[in-house]
Amino acid sequence: MLELRDVSFSADGKEILKDINLVIEDEKFVVVTGPNGGGKSTLARVIAGIEKPDCGQILLDGEDITAWGITKRANSGISFAFQQPVRFKGVTVKDLVSLASGRKLSTEKACEYLSEVGLCAKDYIDREINSSLSGGELKRIEIATVMARKTKLTLFDEPEAGIDLWSFKNLIDVFERMHREIKGSILIISHQERILDIADEIVVISGGRISQVGPKEAVLPEIFRPDACCKYFKEV
C-alpha cells in the first residue's frame, strides 16, 4: 500500500502540489486525471523519487520512504514509465529489458515482453534505443520495460501519448493483463475515457490539489456532468 500524507511540492517559487493526501491500496487500478498543468506528472515523479517533496510523507507498506532516492524506491517495488521515453546510443532494446528485469534475459524471454506490446520482437531486440526508433516504438518499449519489472506498484505517465498504429484496445489489454498477472497496484496518469473506464478508483487533480477521489462509479459521472466547468478528458 502506498500512502501520501500532506505532500507538497514547489518549483521556481510556484506550488505544483499542495497538501496531497492519497492512499493506493494493494492490487488497485487507479487512474489520475485532471487538466494539463494540474500536477499529475509531478505527483508520479514524487512517488518515484525523481522529485523531492517540500513537506509531507510518503509511506510504502507502512515504511516512510520520503527520504529514499530513486534507486532504493525502484528496488523496493516502484516502477515508472516515462511520458517521453529516453533514448540511449549503443544500448539495445534487449539490454534495457534485461536491466529492467534485473537479470540477464534470454532472447526468447525478452521477445515475449516485446510481443506483448505489439512489437515484432526479432525486428527490435537488437536495435539501439536511439533516434532511429519512432516515438510510438519507444513508448511501447518503455511499457515493456516496466512489465519486465513485475513490481508491486507501477506508475504510467500518459501511456497513451504517442502510441501510433498499435490499437488503443491492445494498450488496455496490456494494463488489464498486468493487473491480473502481476497482482500489483497500477497508477496511470491519463486523460483517456477508455482508460478511466477500467479504473477501480479515479483521482482528479486540479491546481495542484486533489479535487475528487473515489470509485469510478462515483467520480466518472461527476467528470462528465454537462455543466462540468472544464472538460479535460478525451474520447477515443
Partner: protein, 307 residues
Amino acid sequence: MLSDIIKNLLSEVAGLQSIPTAGAFNIRSNGKSAGRNSTDTIQIVPKENGSGIDIYVKSGTKDESVHIPALVTETDLHDVVYNDFHIGEGADVTIVAGCGIHNCGCGISQHDGIHRFFVGKNAKIKYIEKHIGEGDGHGQNIINPQTHIIAEENSYVEMDTVQLKGVDSTKRISSAKLAAGATVVIKEKIKTHGKQYAETSFDVDLDGEGSSAKLISRSVARDNSRQLFRSKLSGNQACYGHSECDAIIMDHGIVAAEPEIIANNVDATLIHEAAIGKIAGEQLTKLMTLGLTEQEAEAQIINGFLK
C-alpha cells in the same frame, strides 16, 4: 617461452593466447620479430631494410585472417614499423593488428605503426585494430598509428579501431583514396582519462563515381583528458560521404571536433554530424528507476555507447 606480460598483451590486443602454430601471423615484440608464419595464400615478407613487413594476399583468397600485433614492454623504446598490405583482386580477409604497451619504467614507451593498404578490385577486408597501454611505472605510453588506404574499383574496407585504456598520448592519422564503387567504413572508439590526449584525423578522397565513405567516431573523455577529432571528406565525383562524431564529456574532459566536407562535384553528397555533451540527466534517471545506482547507470551508458 612467452612471459605472462606478453601473453596478456597478446590476448588483449589480438585475442591470441600464445604464438599460433598455424595461419598467417607476424608478432613484433620490442621492435623485433617474435614469430612469423606465411600460408599458401598469405605471404609475409620482411622488408629489405628491416623497417617492417609486406603482406601479400593472393587474389581470390577467401575467409582467411592474418594477425600482426606489435608489443612493447621496454621503457625508453621508440619502435617505428612500416607494414604494407597488398590485397589481391577478389580476396576476402580479416586483418587483426593493434599494439599493446606495458611500461613499468620512467621513460617513454612508444610505438608508431604506419600501415598502407593496397586493396585490389572487388576485394574485401576487415581491419581490426586495438590499442592498449598498461604498467605501473611513471613513464608515458604513446601510440601513433597511421593507416593509409588505396581502394581500387568496387573494393570494400571496414576498419574497427579501439583504444579504451592506458595510452597517454595518441595521434591517429588515417587516409583513404577511393576508386569507382569502392567503400570504406571506419568505426573508432576512444576513451581517455587522467591527463591523456587523443587526436584523430581522417582524410578521405572520394575519387571514383559511386564511391562511399562512412566515418563513425564515438568517444568518452573524463578527468582532465583531451581529445581532438578532425575529419575531411572530399567528394570529387558522384559519391556519398558521411562522418559522425559523438562524444561524452565527464569531469573536466575536453573534446573538440573539426569537421570539413568539400563537395568538388555537384553530384557529391556529404554529411557531417557531431554531438558533444555530458550524459543526459534523464538517461541516468531512467536507469535508476530500473534499480541501478547512479554509478551503475553511468557505467551502463558508457559501456553501451562504446560497445
